[in-house]
Structures are given as structure tokens and as C-alpha cells.
């Protein structure tokens, strides 16, 4: 929204104040100013002059040679405008002057000298009309500096509409003026208004509000014999500077009042709309708005009708059929308040946001309706002497907002602010902002002004904002809170998550990545991965992103493919959220998971797989002090390898799985690479209680190591089970079982496996001889696993 300091200056005396610094203060106290634009600064040396004679330019069809009277003398000007006319008063930019930054100098145009330039309104920056030069119709002496009669000099500032969503009163120059008056401590002057009492005896306008919920107030008045067609220049300049465009006198007037007071108004041509009903229609229909667009209306959209003929979409836009034409001389003037939510919904459904609908959405003050009418009449009657009011001011006030009264004391203000803002200061601020106020011994009772009472100010805390923003946050003394500080330890799950990251990054040189909570169908498809149906995002930007992810792995596999050029070997991981369908209560079964993938073109699949295994073991042993168990399992997802998929179990809880990719998936990623991946549910992981680290006195006696060799299929041996079986088989002090050698001479079908068993007693040195029965017992136990001990 653009605001004119000249316009605001109608209501607040800025004399002796620096307007730019006032605007900066406005940012700190009310809302952020996005931009300050100084108008007219680079336009000077432009005077009112008169065309005395016109000759066609001998060398050009378009150009004319003008004799222009500057009030002092008559000069030659070459001009290309099509609308030149003898006796026409023009804005002449004289030599040495400047028009919007373009310097004016003597020039020779197509062989003829020119000592100035006749300007169009667009050239002067006061409208977008560039069809011809400005035809000045006001009675002004020749030679007068144009800037002394027209408000070309102005300071315009822009405020982002979003920062005013809570302040319907600030969608107007008058509302802004109230802020400036409060900030400067100066008086707020009321605009001139026409008294409507004198029309009481005239017949009322026929107005019926059928929906009193959606239309809070509807006021109307009729005026006839409006002769003026074009708005005065100063009004047009203000409208243009504020981003509006002059249309015709009546349309300009309604826009002007809206920008000045914030109340949208609509003028119907009385010849077409003679009475008003406000209603919704049960059946859908098509309605052409005044922008010439046919729109589909439904049963929720509030309409203004004349009889049963729709003439406007309430609060959004008038109809094409009843719009004001250039020959309109009598009008029915609407000033109404509609329900903000309804306007917003209709506006959204129609895809039509207008200056009016934007204001209504913010919940306008119904008290503003008559004010706007009175203001418009004052302007109209002063600018068009023939205009006549022909009805009484008709007012259907359907629904009042309750008056809001708030009580609080000085202590409340002190507690909230933490500083001491004086009673006098509080009173001064609230009064200037229009609050009714009584105070006794630091106890305040305030009445919220109607323009703030539609939703904005409802609580004591809202009053605090009013007091403090005007006091100025820069003026606050800042103090620490007095509550004691008690350093906190991070939560277990949070701390463990950090440790998981540290371990993978430092210990396994993995790279942490982030991705999205949804599956990417296109990327999955490229890898031949089927995307399971899952909870769906209704309004995903692309259908490819509609399903939430069930697993972390598919994205990581895509990332592996995309990073092939990064290096021959890398590992990546992500900790993120997945959704495994819905829980019983209908909410998403959201889980936090760690997904990791190891990629290498330099190692065997087995080596990469075992490195992944090592990482899992380390995570469990380092963080949980418990060892994981890997058990062969059926794959859950199609991207897992059916033969090489293992669940990870810690303390009887399955926390995740370890696998290598399905052959076709691996092919799609990289034919030459070895890939392994694992996924761990970190919620489940953290729920496992950490084991206690126990200390065992190391034996002072040397350990005895004894080897035993078996023939077996390595892939099918469960080493965890072998360890446990060895311990169970004997009472001898077995301290460890380790792999001494694996020889897969004839492929994996018949490998020889040499295991080393270490025994150590705490009180003496053991002998091989005494351990012989233990070894026999172990061999016997292993025979049950199909492992035949070799001699």
C-alpha cells in the first residue's frame, strides 16, 4: 500500500518536522515501511504557458512548430503531441529545468530550434496518460511554477499489506494520520464532512438486508445531477501516487474516500439500480463483473441485487450492467460493512481480490459507513455545485460489534514491560489513539475505539502493545530476568542422535544429508523401486511427491546414484522421519529413522557389507553397550536383496535391518559398485536401555589359545550362535572365539574355517592338556550345527 505524506498532512500538521524521519519512526512503532519514494524532487523549471499559434513542421508529419507564451515572452517550441490546440494551456518545461530527472536544454528538432518541452501528464509522473500533452483547464496565470499550484512534490511510502493484516484502521490515510498524530504528539484533524440530517425529510432508499449475518450494515443515499466528469488535478495526482488510476469523477471519488478513510464504497447508476437487496442465492448462476469477466457464483456468495437482479458481488466488485458510465448523472451510493470471512472466502473462490475485498477481509468498523458517506458528499457537493441529494441517508444496521472495555492497573503494565512507564504517558498514548480512558490511583478502565474493536484489541495484553510501541522499544531499559538459571542436560534420545552422527561421521567417514519427507516416484521408478502407497499429501506440488516416505533408503539410493561422479567410495546417512501408515487413532504412524548407505567401486560387496555391519555393531556397543544380533530375514521392501537381508536385534528388540540392494536396483545405480545399506529406527534404538559397563580384573596369567578347523559354508554359519554354543558347551574359562582363517578354495561351497578359542583363568596358567576335554565338547556341540571338525 502506498501512502502520501501530503494526504496524511491534511489531518496532521507536520510543519517543522522531518517527514522522512517520521516515516522511519513509523517502522519502529507501527509497521515496517518498505520504501520511501520522493516525488517531484527531480522536476523543476516547469511553468504554465499557453500555445499562441501552431504551424505544421515542414519536415515531419507528426511534429508541430509552436509559439508558446510563457507570460514573459513568446518562444518557439517543437512539439509532437497530437492534441495541440491554439489557446491551450500547457505545462512547459523550460530550458535549464528538469522533468522527472530529464534535463531540458535548447534543441534542434528536425532542423528547427526548440526552447522547451510541452509535457504530458505521464512525463511529469502525475498519471500514466501519455496520449497527448497535459491540457490544463484551471485558471492559472501564465508563468506560474506548476509545482506551486499542483501537489507534484510529495513523499510516498510503501507498507507491505501483510504487516497490516491485523489493523483494518490502517488501510487508510486517516488511520495512518492517527498514528502520526500520536507519534508526534500533534492534533488529529477531522476531514470535512457533509451533515446528512438535513436530508431526513427526503424519501429513504429502498434497502432490504436479507442476510444480517453476512451484511453487518448497509447504508445508502441517492444523488442526482452530477455534471462533473473529470476529477480535479490534485485529487488525480494523489490517486495516482497511491497506486490508483483516475477513471471518472464518480469512480475517483469513491476510490478517494476509500484511500482516505478505508471504507470501500460503491456507486450504482441510479437509472439501473433503484433499490437494494442484500442476499445469497440457492442456485448457482453466472454474473458479469464490471471488469467484463463472467464469473460462476454459488450459494455462499453474498450478492447485492436490485429486485432479484444481481448488481454486485457484495464487497468485492460491482456488476458490468449497473456500472457508472461517463454519462451517469444520478447515483445510488453504497457504504456498507460485510462479514470479513465471507468476503475472503468468496474472493478466494472467485480468484478476485480487489482493494475493497482486501479491506473487508480485515474486519472493517461498521461505524465507518456513515462517516465515509458524509465525507464523499462533502467532496462531491463542493466539487460539483449542481449535484443534489435526493434521498435520506438510509441505514440498515444489522449487527453491532460489542463495545469492549478493559480494566488493568499500572502494576500489570509494569510487570509486562519490566520498566516504569508513567501513568501520564499511558494516558496520553491511549487517548491519542482514540481509546476512551478513566484512571484513578493507577487503575485504568479503557474503552476500545470502534475501529480497533472488530478483532484487533480484545485483551489487556493488546493494550500493552499500544503503550509500548508508542513508548518506543529503543527506549526500553533492558534487564535480565531474575529467574535462576539451571543448566540442563540434553534428553537421552537427542544426545544419542548426536552420538550416532558423531560416530558415523568420525568413525566411518560418512556424510550427513537431508532430503524430503515424501517419496519421489520418478526417482524411485528410475531405480526400479516400487513406491508403496502411504499417507498422501493432498496438495503436493507434483503427483510424484504425493506419498510420504515409508523408508529412508530409496532417497539415499538415489543420492548414491547422483553422487557417482563424486568419488569411487563414499557413505551417506540421514536421520529423518518416516510414516508407516496410520495408527489406530487415525494419526500418522511417524517414526524417526537413521538410514545409511555405503558405496564403493574399490571393494567387494562383502567388504562393504561388513563395514556397514561394523558401523551397526559400533553404534550398539558404543551407545547402548549391547551387541546387536543379525538374523537372516525375508525382505520387507523390493529394493532389498532376498538372500542377503538381515534384521538387527538388540536386547530382543528389532531395531532395523541390514541389506545389499536387489540386483536390478544395484545395476540401475552403478554396475561396478558394491553397495550396502542399513536402516535403524532411532526411537526403538533409544528405547533400549543401555547396558552397564562392568569391569573384570584382567588375569595375570597368560591365555591359552587353541585352534580348531572345520569344513563349512561360510555364508550359512551363524557366528553369534557358535560363540554362544562354545560357552555353553564347557565350564572351562573360555574368554573369546575368533576367526583365525577362512579359506574358500573351492568357492563358498566348501570353505575351511579355522576358529581360535582363547582360555584364561584368573588364578593360574592353564595347560593345553587340561583344556582338551573342553575342546572336544565344543567340537561335539559344533557338529550339531553341521560343522565337522578336521583332524
Amino acid at each position: 500500500m502506498f501512502l502520501s505524506m501530503n494526504w496524511i498532512g491534511d489531518f496532521v500538521d507536520f510543519s517543522g518536522l522531518d517527514k522522512k524521519s517520521l516515516i522511519k519512526n513509523f517502522t519502529l512503532s507501527t509497521a515496517e515501511v518498505e520504501d520511501i519514494i520522493v516525488k517531484g524532487e527531480d522536476t523543476y523549471g516547469v511553468i504554465v504557458a499557453r500555445i499562441e499559434s501552431i504551424e505544421n513542421h515542414p519536415n515531419s508529419k507528426k511534429l508541430h512548430l509552436l509559439k508558446v507564451n510563457t507570460g514573459k515572452d513568446v518562444i518557439d517550441v517543437v512539439c509532437g503531441a497530437p492534441n495541440v490546440r491554439e489557446g491551450m494551456k500547457v505545462a512547459l518545461a523550460t530550458v535549464g529545468g528538469s522533468v522527472c530527472g530529464h534535463p531540458i536544454s535548447e534543441a534542434t528538432i528536425a532542423g528547427y530550434p526548440s526552447f522547451g518541452m510541452c509535457c504530458s501528464e505521464a512525463e511529469l509522473g502525475i498519471s500514466d496518460d501519455n496520449s497527448g500533452i497535459w491540457d490544463i483547464t484551471d485558471d492559472i496565470a501564465l508563468g506560474t511554477d506548476i509545482k506551486s499550484v499542483y501537489p507534484i512534490d510529495d513523499i510516498i511510502f510503501e507498507v507491505d499489506n501483510k504487516s497490516l493484516t491485523n489493523r483494518p484502521d490502517l488501510w487508510s490515510h486517516y488511520g495512518m494520520a492517527r498514528e502520526f498524530a500520536t507519534l508526534t504528539g500533534r492534533e488529529l484533524k477531522a476531514p470535512a464532512m457533509q451533515c446528512v440530517k438535513e436530508y431526513e425529510s427526503l424519501p429513504p432508499v429502498d434497502v432490504k438486508v436479507k442476510d444480517g449475518e453476512l451484511c453487518l450494515r448497509y447504508t445508502a443515499i441517492k444523488v442526482e445531477n452530477v455534471q462533473r466528469k473529470v476529477s480535479p488535478v490534485d485529487m488525480r495526482i494523489r490517486l495516482y501516487y497511491c497506486g490508483s488510476r483516475a477513471i471518472n469523477f464518480l469512480a475517483d471519488l469513491t476510490n478517494y474516500v476509500m484511500l482516505e478513510l478505508g471504507q470501500p464504497m460503491h456507486a450504482f447508476d441510479c437509472a439501473k439500480v433503484n433499490k437494494i437487496e442484500v442476499q445469497t442465492f440457492a442456485d448457482p448462476f453466472v454474473f458479469r463483473t464490471l471488469d467484463g469477466t463472467d464469473r460462476n457464483m454459488d450459494d455462499k456468495m453474498l450478492m447485492i441485487t436490485s429486485g432479484d437482479e444481481p448488481v454486485a458481488v457484495a464487497g468485492i466488485m460491482g456488476g458490468d450492467a449497473s456500472k457508472i458510465e461517463d454519462d451517469t448523472s444520478s447515483l445510488l451510493l453504497e457504504s456498507a460493512t460485510f462479514d470479513g470471512v465471507s468476503i475472503r472466502k468468496t474472493s478466494t473462490r472467485l480468484g478476485l481480490r480487489t482493494d475493497a475485498s482486501m479491506r473487508y477481509e480485515k474486519m472493517l468498523d461498521p461505524e465507518l459507513c456513515p462517516v465515509a458517506t458524509k465525507r464523499l458528499l462533502a467532496l462531491l457537493l463542493s466539487l460539483d455545485e449542481g449535484a443534489r441529494v435526493i434521498s435520506s441517508f438510509t441505514d440498515c444496521y444489522m449487527k453491532h460489534y460489542p463495545e469492549i472495555t478493559l480494566s488493568f492497573d499500572k502494576k500489570y503494565v509494569d510487570r509486562y514491560t519490566g520498566i516504569d512507564i508513567s501513568v501520564a504517558e499511558i494516558k496520553k498514548t491511549l487517548t491519542a489513539l482514540g481509546f476512551g480512558l478513566t484512571e484513578k490511583d493507577g487503575n485504568f478502565t479503557v474503552t476500545v475505539p470502534s475501529w480497533r474493536a472488530t478483532k484487533d484489541v480484545t485483551l489487556k495484553a493488546d493494550i500493552i502493545e499500544e503503550i509500548t510501541r508508542i513508548y518506543g522499544y529503543d527506549n526500553f531499559e533492558v534487564k535480565p530476568s531474575v529467574s535462576p538459571l539451571a543448566p540442563k542436560l540434553p534428553e537421552k534420545a537427542k544426545a544419542e542422535e548426536n552420538r550416532i552422527k558423531d560416530l558415523l561421521v568420525k568413525g566411518y567417514r560418512m556424510h550427513e544429508v537431508h532430503s524430503y519427507i515424501w517419496s519421489d516416484l520418478a526417482k524411485n521408478k528410475a531405480l526400479g523401486i516400487e513406491t508403496p502407497e502411504n499417507v498422501r499429501v493432498i496438495n503436493a506440488q507434483t503427483p510424484d511427491h504425493q506419498y510420504l516416505r515409508v523408508s529412508m533408503i530409496p532417497t539415499l539410493l538415489s543420492f548414491a546414484k547422483e553422487n557417482r561422479s563424486y568419488g569411487d567410495a563414499f557413505s551417506i546417512f540421514e536421520i529423518g522421519h518416516t510414516v508407516e501408515g496410520l495408527r489406530e487413532d487415525g494419526k500418522c504412524n511417524e517414526q524417526k529413522k537413521l538410514g545409511a548407505i555405503l558405496f564403493s567401486r574399490k571393494e567387494s560387496e562383502e567388504a562393504v557389507f561388513l563395514r556397514a555391519r561394523d558401523a551397526i555393531v559400533e553404534l550398539c556397543e558404543d551407545i547402548l553397550h549391547k551387541s546387536p544380533v543379525f538374523l537372516p530375514a525375508e525382505p520387507v521392501f523390493g529394493f532389498e536383496h532376498p538372500r542377503n537381508c538381515y534384521t538387527i536385534t538388540v536386547a530382543d528388540t528389532v531395531i532395523g535391518y541390514l541389506s545389499v540392494p536387489y540386483p536390478t536396483v544395484k545395476e540401475a545405480i552403478d554396475k561396478k559398485a558394491a553397495i550396502a545399506f542399513f536402516e535403524i529406527n532411532t526411537n526403538t534404538f533409544s528405547a533400549v536401555s543401555a547396558g552397564i559397563v562392568k569391569y573384570e580384573e584382567p588375569s595375570r596369567f597368560p591365555a591359552i589359545e587353541m585352534d580348531m578347523t572345520f569344513v563349512c559354508k561360510i555364508g550359512e554359519v551363524n557366528f553369534d550362535a557358535l560363540k554362544a554354543a562354545a560357552k555353553a558347551a564347557t565350564d572351562a574359562p573360555l574368554t573369546s572365539v575368533s576367526v583365525q582363517d577362512i579359506y574358500e578354495g573351492d568357492g563358498e561351497k566348501s570353505a575351511t574355517l579355522t576358529l581360535r578359542f582363547a582360555f584364561s583363568a584368573s588364578d593360574r596358567t592353564l595347560t593345553k592338556q587340561e583344556l582338551s576335554p573342553a575342546m572336544d565338547a565344543i567340537a561335539e556341540a559344533y557338529a550339531a550345527f553341521g560343522l565337522a571338525a578336521q583332524a
Partner: protein, 343 residues
């Protein structure tokens, strides 16, 4: 008895000549055996001593010779060893620390780095760190934050809605209600998290990004405390003295609500292109927690007040590392992400 003396002198001379000519450890050992061995020449002299009249003098001469021989052999032996080590050093393989390394370090996601940094600062100030789900209900994301249905504030956020009626949280504030209910007052908590907004992505916009929300609730928490806290906290975050400025800002869940600006980190407040010549950078929204929000969180609004703030973690990480394109964060590209080595 000149004969013995002459023999010794002769042997001394021969010994010196042999020693000077000796090459290698073995030759030296042979020389040692030849003179000092059990059957060596000095032993021979000792044997012949019994035929000598002036045994005392002769014995002295022989012993002097023996001592001389021993020390000379030890000297040469040491010289030999020294020469051998020097030769070994000269012949050692030359090691090169500049050889291009294959070793590659792992890396943390920049958001992890920023989050950890902030968490440590906040833990030191007595804040609990809370985790929260990414999928929430309408109540948590809007209703409990004083954003009723049809409130224009919902227009500001394009929300991803799910087919089960839940939604992807649009801001970390969605955790406020649950955390107030979990801990009650007094309360000091931060909750970092992933947030989602349904908007098209470009270098400055992502539909998935991180925020960190903070709340402090206690008796007599004031605007003055809020300003002090934000200044102190941000000075820690940016590791230098930060100037802060509050402007009114409208957020339904705070009252009064503020936009907090810090003095521009690039120009220091003088005005430069990054701060649009204003000297200030808009950093984070904050404010006194709205009484309705406190009440819905089960907090006694007559007794307690509090403030809340939201830090754009993703934006902070961009500022900190000079990341120009926000999409790099979720790209999975190791060319970009592997640069963030350690804390």
C-alpha cells in the same frame, strides 16, 4: 730387558698399522681376537713374562699395551657403527607428507552444525531441548496458537495437508502447546525442527526447511527481559556483540509481537546492499506469548508471562556459511555437503 720392550714396541706398531687398515666389523673382530684373544699376541707376551727378569716393568708395559689395544678397538668399533647408521640414513626411503591423500573425512549437515551450536548455547542458559513430530494436527499448528479457522494469518502459510486430516507442520511453534502441557511453568525450552510450506522452490525458497523455536515462561517475564535475552543469546550465536532492534510485528500467537532486527553483519550498521542500506537485517520474529496461547497450554496467565521466538535455522546456516542457494541443503550433493567437516 730390552728384548721384551722391543717386542712390545714392535707389536704396538704392527697393531696400529693393522687397525688403520681394518675394514668392516669382521676384520675388526679378527684383529681383536689376534691381539686380545685368549691365544692372542698379548696373551703370548704374558706367557713369555715368566722368562723376563724385570717382571714388574714388563708386566706394566704389557698392561699398557692391552689397555691401549682395547680402547683403540672400542673407538674404531664405535666409528664403524656410526658410519653404518649414517649409511643407513642416507639409504633410507624418503617420505613425502605432501603426497596427495586419498583419506576423506566424513561431514555433518550444516543444519546439524548450526543446531548443535545453538543447543549448546541454550543448554548453558538452562533450556531444555525438545524434539517434536513433523506431522501435526490443525489444533497444534493453528488453533492452539490463537489462529482460528478462517484467520487471515493462515493465508500467510501454504500448508501441506494430508489425506488423514493431519498436516506437515508449517512452523516449530506447533510444538508450543504440547511442550507447555508437558512441563508447565516455569519453562525454558527450545525445539528445533523441520518445517514445510507448500511453495515453489528457487534459490531463496524451499518447501522443507528448519526452524528453532524457543520459549521462556516464568513469573514477571517482561518485554525488557525479552530484549535483554535476545541480545545476549544472539551475541553468543554470532560470537560478537550484536545490536538488536524491535519493531511491531503481527503474529497471532504473541502479543505484543515483534520483528527483531540485528545490526547488519556485513556493514556493521553503516548501510550496504545486503541490508538495503538500512543498516539492519530482519532476523527473527518474537514476542510475549499471547495469553490465549498460555491458557490453552494450561498456564495460569495471571501468574505467568513469557516470551517466544523463532529462529530460521536454515537461514542462519546460509548466513553463516555463505550458502547462496537454499536448495543445496536438501540436494544430497556431496560436492556441496562434504565441505562441512566438523563442529
Amino acid at each position: 730387558m730390552p728384548k721384551m720392550k722391543d717386542r712390545i714396541e714392535q707389536l704396538k706398531k704392527e697393531f696400529s698399522e693393522s687397525l688403520a687398515a681394518v675394514a668392516g666389523e669382521e676384520a675388526l673382530e679378527a684383529l681383536r681376537v689376534a691381539y686380545l684373544g685368549k691365544k692372542g699376541r698379548i696373551a703370548d707376551l704374558m706367557k713369555d713374562l715368566r722368562d723376563v727378569e724385570d717382571k714388574k716393568s714388563a708386566g706394566q708395559w704389557i698392561n699398557e699395551f692391552k689397555t691401549l689395544a682395547e680402547s683403540e678397538i672400542a673407538r674404531v668399533s664405535a666409528e664403524q657403527k656410526d658410519a653404518a647408521i649414517k649409511a643407513q640414513i642416507r639409504g633410507a626411503k624418503k617420505l613425502n607428507p605432501t603426497l596427495i591423500a586419498e583419506r576423506e573425512l566424513g561431514s555433518y549437515h550444516p543444519i546439524t552444525l548450526c543446531t548443535k551450536d545453538l543447543e549448546e548455547i541454550f543448554m548453558g542458559m538452562g533450556f531444555t531441548i525438545e524434539d517434536y513430530s513433523e506431522i501435526v494436527g490443525d489444533y497444534e499448528c493453528f488453533e492452539a496458537l490463537n489462529i482460528p479457522k478462517h484467520h487471515p494469518a493462515r493465508d500467510m502459510q501454504d500448508t501441506y495437508y494430508l489425506d488423514n486430516g493431519q498436516l506437515l507442520k508449517t512452523h516449530t511453534s506447533a510444538a508450543q502447546n504440547a511442550i507447555m502441557k508437558k512441563y508447565g511453568a516455569p519453562l525454558r525450552a527450545i525445539f528445533p525442527g523441520r518445517c514445510f510450506r507448500n511453495e515453489s522452490t528457487d534459490a531463496c525458497h524451499e518447501n522443507t526447511f528448519f526452524q528453532m523455536e524457543g520459549m521462556m515462561i516464568d513469573e514477571n517475564i517482561s518485554i525488557s527481559n525479552l530484549i535483554y535475552f535476545m541480545k545476549t543469546m544472539l551475541s553468543q550465536v554470532f560470537k560478537r556483540d550484536i545490536k538488536v532492534r524491535l519493531r511491531p510485528g503481527f503474529f497471532p500467537f504473541v502479543e505484543p509481537g515483534f520483528e527483531l532486527d540485528i545490526n547488519c553483519l556485513i556493514c556493521g550498521g553503516e548501510g550496504c546492499p545486503s541490508c538495503k542500506n538500512s543498516g539492519w537485517l530482519e532476523l527473527c520474529p518474537c514476542g510475549m506469548i499471547h495469553p490465549n496461547v498460555l491458557r490453552d497450554g494450561g498456564i495460569d496467565t495471571e501468574k505467568y508471562t513469557g516470551f517466544a521466538f523463532g529462529l530460521g535455522l536454515t537461514r542462519l546456516a546460509m548466513m553463516r556459511y555463505g550458502v547462496k542457494d537454499i536448495r543445496d541443503f536438501n540436494s544430497g550433493s556431496l560436492k556441496a555437503l562434504s565441505q562441512f567437516k566438523s563442529l
